[in-house]
Amino acid sequence: MQKVFSKGAVLAGAMLWAATAQAELVLDEAWLRAVPPVSPSMAGYVTVTNTGDAAVVITGARSDFAGHVMLHDMSMQEDGTRAMRHLHEVMVPAGGSVSFAPGGMHLMLMHLSRVPAEGERASLCLELRNDTSVCADFTVSRTSPFEA
């Protein structure tokens, strides 16, 4: 479980409280799909819960081992095919949660400088519209470590 942190260096106490009171994001069940070391990309999954009293907008993601991370959505088409769509933002409503999960919304990590190995915990941050970010350690696993 990780909470939101401001990118800014120092803020007045009252301002910091105000900012965090509006946006309390909690990241759970964060994992990356383990892939072969020669893979050019991998997918990340996480549940984002907003315990604050204002909606939060996720605008992107970053990691030190991925040159580029995109928010993607996978959806089933009428003809039975699955199509990938780039999302420019994802809103997490106040008191609500959003799941990035296999077969649906996910984080697509590209231009990997290295491929984290199965069993590793790799840090990845979600970037928010209000110039803050929230980070978590993602467990690298072949299948979801959170499924029963």
């Binding site: 050019p40 991998m42 088409q77 095919t81 199509a83 077969g103 697509m108 299948t143």
Partner: protein, 188 residues
């Protein structure tokens, strides 16, 4: 007449001996499959004939696919490993056919597939050859517009083939691992 019970017992034993491996009740799908010509990860020609004599778990995808394809690869590999633990994998062959021959060369497939630890065969070929086999299996794939890091819109069924390379069952991408293993076993 005293010999009759013995004769009947013998007949029953002979009949039971022929029933030690129940026939699979999976119907043959005559609309899917057929002759094709592709190249395996060693650069060798691979045709429908290479599928005969074993049960195949065949599926399509591409290695630059971040979400569904690695999940399907991992699940098929798990089916194989479960059958291997039961001593049944020597006549079961997972087969991965790419629809991205531009990036999924034989050399790349040879580097990529062993990680899944399932003795997987990887097949590539010309775009025309792949289009043909995809059509035979009812697979749709549409390349994205991106110049770089292009993705595909695609169908993602998994096919269970018997030892005559006939399609016997289709599964969705989130198939039940135990179901596929049991179905494969029924065809051995």
């Amino acid at each position: 007449m005293r010999k009759l019970p013995y004769i009947l017992s013998l007949l029953v034993l002979i009949l039971l001996a022929g029933c030690d491996k129940p026939e699979s009740d999976l119907p043959v799908n005559t609309r899917l499959g057929g002759e094709f010509s592709l190249t395996d990860q060693d650069g060798k020609p691979f045709s429908q004939d290479n599928l005969k004599g074993q049960v195949s778990i065949l599926f399509f995808g591409y290695t630059h696919c971040p979400d569904i394809c690695p999940a399907v690869l991992a699940r098929v590999a798990q089916v194989y490993r479960n059958l291997d633990e039961a001593g049944l994998a020597d006549r079961v062959q997972p087969v991965f056919i790419t629809f991205d021959p531009e990036r999924d060369t034989a050399e790349h497939l040879k580097e990529y597939l062993p990680w899944f630890k399932a003795e997987m065969v990887g097949l590539t070929g010309s775009l025309a050859e792949i289009r043909q086999v995809a059509e035979q299996y009812g697979v749709v794939f549409i390349k994205g517009d991106e110049e770089e890091n292009y993705l595909f819109t695609h169908s993602d069924y998994i096919y269970l083939l018997d030892d005559q390379a006939r399609v016997r069952k289709l599964y969705p991408a989130d198939f039940n691992i135990d179901e596929v293993a049991a179905d494969a076993e029924s065809l051995l």
